[in-house]
Subunit: 266 residues, 2 copies
């Protein structure tokens, strides 16, 4: 299996093979560094139009990287040689909005009427922040990024609606502009911040009490900076309590063949 | 009705009113300067998913600005107070892929099962090029921009497929980088060029014989620069010969409430 360092250098296809054979069943952060990881949301065809439109109308929280053909579990744009039923370490199976299983493989759950959506995730821009010398606190502290439900409503699409969820990273005052410019180069993976500073402006009452993930230390001289978060479409979807849906398990992402820099603006 | 100069200063809602009442029935170039104009494609709901997916998979030629609710002719994101059935100067009505009418108003053709798509158009980035001192030849020569069918296949989505169509503008050698950087700021309206230089590389045999639009003069020391073109999705759609579709008449665009700069990267 090798060290974390070894994992970082694996090609995406080798990493997916290790995951497919259940040689690796853990979170994917740090695997195949430089390659883009993605969130997975699988819905039935009758919900796919609403989800596609929701993503089109809310591109900051829902940066769509790939949509499969109906019934085909292969993401042709981002990893044509892969199989989404087996190539993520862990899945969540949802029935009527309730979590009913968390298997290592979803082959038994896949159906002919399903469409898989891959959405960009913040791992991509966090790599760019780190390379630019901007600290990423939750990585330093070995925690999950703190996420908050805001008072900013997404644009509705059919049955899908809900508030925007944001993630927060503390940034030293002097580096805020730099953080904006760097993440702004990656519009396909949330882009520049949606808010900088006073959390109450976007409806966050207590910065130390995130709605999802873990709290992190906000130091003297640091500004809380908020980016749109990929949890948003999942939250909107679950509100509608669809009869059947599949997602990745948090942190257990899909590793694409695309490089992070493929999503920098061209 | 007033002069062209007067038209340039009209607010989008005033301009649309003038168009709605058939006080203006001509092309929209030069009206409400600084506001974004859009291409219109209307299809029935059963084709809307494929068209939405085609746009998602081919964002350079198909920059989607707005999609209406089924049966509702109001583009909520780009001009909530407007009506797409009346607010464009001229429409094209298509039956089985054939042009059957070119009315000033499409109210009689609109149906409850229709979805309207608004796509970005190159007027937006041409304004930015002109402001940056880069000549736009077809405007100088009072012609339509030359467009070419390329050998670059779009990514298929369901029934929709076809080659990418590009538009060409000659740019002086010394200004090519500048033209790339400036249009690259507008990814929602085709973005940076898809090709620079030798037309044969993308399957264009004769630069003086465009597939659509007019030929323009290519001067000594100028490079042909090619951008993805909004004719692409219409061409793909018409290949499938849908029983019923509606588009704008060429050059007779929809004027949104959005400013061109709203589509510059943030």
């Amino acid at each position: 299996m090798g060290s974390k360092r070894h994992l970082g250098k694996l090609s995406p296809s080798k990493a997916r093979e290790m995951i497919r054979t259940n040689e690796w069943t853990g979170p994917t952060a740090g695997i195949s560094n430089g390659y883009t990881q993605a969130n997975l949301v699988v819905v039935t065809k009758d919900l796919a139009y609403d989800l596609l439109l929701f993503c089109q109308r809310n591109p900051r929280p829902c940066p769509l990287l790939d949509v499969t053909e109906v019934g085909k579990p292969v993401p042709l744009m981002t990893a044509p040689g892969s199989d989404l039923r087996t190539d993520l370490p862990r899945y969540r199976i949802w029935k009527d909005g309730f979590l009913v299983d968390e298997p290592l493989d979803m082959t038994d759950y896949w159906r002919d009427d399903m469409v898989a959506f891959l959405l960009g995730c913040s791992f991509t821009f966090e790599g760019a922040l780190l390379e630019a010398g901007i600290p990423v606190r939750h990585i330093e502290e070995g925690r999950n990024v703190p996420m908050y439900i805001t008072n900013m409503e997404c644009r509705r699409a059919g049955s899908l609606h809900g508030p925007m969820v944001v993630s927060m990273r503390p940034v030293p005052h002097s580096m805020v502009s730099r953080a904006v410019m760097i993440t702004g180069r990656f519009p396909s993976v949330h882009g520049s911040p949606v808010h900088i500073g006073d959390p109450s402006v976007i409806g966050i009452r207590e910065i130390n009490d995130p709605d999802f993930g873990d709290r992190v230390t906000l130091k003297e001289g640091e500004v809380p900076v908020f980016w749109a978060c990929g949890v948003t479409p999942q939250a909107a979807l679950m509100k509608t309590r669809p009869p059947f849906a599949i997602t990745h398990s948090p942190g257990h992402m899909f590793i694409t063949d695309k490089r992070d820099l493929d999503y920098a603006i061209f």
